[in-house]
Symmetry: C2
Subunit: 421 residues, 2 copies
């Protein structure tokens, strides 16, 4: 039998999967994986990540906002860097792969270069961001915004449920003061940002493909919609005299589904609904529901929102109910850089995999990093499209394929092609 505990006999995928298991032990909960930004377990995980970066030949440090940053120099010291990475914070009761996979896979790729004594015509930095999930504090992307130079200092006053501010938590964590000049990067020093991440959706599994090329991190808008009708006794008000707020909401929900279904590059979801007063024998006087609408194209999203607002008004008018539509969130799409996608796509093709392009419907650190440099993402197939759940899973074979494709991409990466675009 092969000695499976020796790193030298392991495939890159096996090595990555073993480290992901190890990393999952840093959890606040005993029975579930929970690792929030700036928690003690986040610190332990960051220290372990730093050690792994050092073992891969990188100079590694934890920066002023608790990002772990490892640097692998290029053919000469101080060259502009290709940034790789993802995040090591988790949601509550998380899976082991969301975020962590991208960090560990990047370290594994650099480790391979290091083991082979390879120096590339650019530096590589691997970053393990600390606040992508935004669970502990009412803000998110603190780590990547700090690096991109777009972090609003007021953000650091945001408090968690125990009234501890990010600023206080950073001190407790042991970070250097936030004005550390090495936190935010100069544009000339950052060539691009590439992130490997689990898909968190079912497309690659459905298409039977291990990897997918992200076209953009979708822009998203959220709405709180209220319909006000007239309450009435379920037995005494004839159908034609009703102004039923829930029936109006139901028609709007189907209009949303219909529009998204017939529109390319658009998803739209009603996740919450309520009918008031909420008694089986009372016609609902009001109904509230949420709308989450996303597209890699801001034009497609804006157009769909306009159509839906018009459809809602028509439905409300026909049904003699009042309508209130509040936009509660709005984030533009972050398009991946075409030449960067092409270079990742070439590596995917060289691995014998049919390249598939797809948007990222979920948000990622790239949303912040795009302010600094071109971004791209490579998605890895996950089981059942499940994420943010202990059932989250990727296969060792897919992890292996992903790391090998990343290494191949690094070997071929040509920063000059980004400028040409």
């Amino acid at each position: 039998m092969a000695p499976t505990d020796s790193r030298h006999t392991r495939s890159p995928g096996e090595a990555v999967m073993a480290r992901l298991e190890e990393l999952a032990r840093f959890s606040t909960d005993r029975t579930a994986l929970t690792r929030l930004y700036l928690s003690a377990e986040h610190k332990s995980a960051a220290k372990q990540t730093q050690v792994w970066m050092q073992e891969a030949g990188m100079e590694a440090r934890i920066d002023a906002v608790a990002n772990v940053v490892g640097r692998h120099e290029g053919r000469e010291p101080g060259l502009p860097a290709l940034l790789l990475g993802s995040h090591i914070d988790t949601v509550r009761n998380a899976g082991k792969y969301d975020g962590c996979f991208g960090v560990i896979a990047a370290i594994e790729a650099v480790s391979a270069l290091h083991a082979a004594g390879e120096r590339l015509p650019f530096a590589i930095e691997v970053i393990a961001f600390g606040d992508e999930e935004g669970v502990r504090f009412p803000v998110t992307l603190t780590g990547s915004r700090a690096i991109a130079g777009t972090l609003d200092p007021a953000t650091l006053d945001a408090m968690d449920a125990d009234r501890i501010s990010i600023r206080q938590a950073l001190q407790q964590f042991g970070c250097a003061p936030i004005d550390d000049p090495r936190v935010s990067r100069r544009r000339q020093q950052a060539l691009a940002y590439c992130e490997l991440h689990t898909e968190q959706g079912p497309v690659l599994e459905t298409e039977k493909l291990p990897l997918g090329l992200v076209t953009a991190i979708s822009g998203a808008s959220r709405f709180a919609i209220t319909v006000e009708g007239v309450a009435g006794h379920a037995g005494t008000v004839p159908m034609q005299l009703r102004q039923d707020a829930l029936c109006a909401a139901a028609e709007m929900i189907l209009a949303i589904e219909h529009l998204a279904g017939e529109t390319d590059q658009l998803v739209a979801t009603v996740g919450c609904i309520e009918a008031l007063p909420g008694a089986a024998n009372v016609i609902p006087s009001s109904s509230r529901f949420t709308l989450d609408i996303r597209s890699p194209s801001d034009r497609v999203r804006a157009d769909a929102i306009g159509r839906l607002e018009k459809a809602f008004e028509e439905i409300a008018g026909q049904r003699r109910v009042r309508l209130d539509v509040q936009r509660t969130y709005d984030e533009p799409a972050a398009g991946c850089h075409p030449a960067l996608i092409e270079q990742l796509e070439a590596a995917v093709s060289r691995a014998g995999i049919t390249p598939l392009r797809l948007p990222s419907g979920a948000g990622h650190d790239g949303l912040a990093m795009i302010s600094l440099c071109p971004i791209a993402m490579l998605f890895v197939r996950c089981k059942g499209g499940i994420s943010h759940n202990p059932a989250e899973s990727i296969s060792t074979a897919d992890a292996d394929t992903a790391v090998r494709v990343l290494i191949d991409f690094l070997h071929h990466f040509d920063p000059s092609r980004l400028r040409a675009n």
Copy 2:
């Protein structure tokens, strides 16, 4: 100016409205009208009602289940009686007219006969039932079931939120033991039961009519419907791969509304809805909603339920979601007696009012009384169709019309025509 505080100068409508104001003072809440079955305030209201019955020349008593029963003898003592009445218990934060109007209007009608020294070829009994709303105990129609002889003695063990049983509450109220032979009536002694009640719906107001003739107390079925789909990330699951439980529920809700809208004599209502897990950015994995469906025709209701169950199954099949439909309540319709409707209708016509027939979508004591004798109901127009609410309102003019029509009906009532049907 006319001395408005003298009963002799008041119209019957004014007298009724003044007493309804007086009765509304018997309330457990200071700022709202709440008078639950067997409460201290119910007892005070019952005593006051008994006094009013006595003032109207009736022999009046409070029976073993706290019904107030007043008897006006006919041309000779002991004749079979026409039963009139309604209930004096209320919901929490109630209006002043639901139930109470029918009791006070009946007393007012008997009072007019008494004042004129009239004796009819039948006795009249006015009954103020005590438990029509079913708010305090998890049972309802205790008073009318006892009189109809259909009260299950086990019902008396039902407990309120403070673990007081009906049996205990009856003792505290001071009622005679439940085996009092005068509680349940012999069929030969009960000619018919007629109830005046606010419509609790908008039909009469819409039709600009003060009164309406009830064809039947609708039968009702209630369902708890659960749809089970598959949760997913609102951004990452393409529309065509979704099994969205809420979209399926929305389609079912519109199917319900559509079927009820195109079916005569049917109303159907979804009053409660829930989507789980209930986050704006998660595709609902399950959705639960209620269905309340009513018709004066049991055949129409059964047919509609069959069609809806088929429609739900089709929608669930097309959308690949699981469906669970639980029937939680089922009560057949109680048809008003055709010859009794006709006699009431004749009185309405003699008052110069276009007779309109309509079902009672709400339940009433007639649901129990139909086991004893033929029933009928006369609806009085209410403002905005509102009931079970402090805004509940009827006009003095309509109250007056109702009492005058009732008196006229009593003058013309011919029990022999009921047997002919």
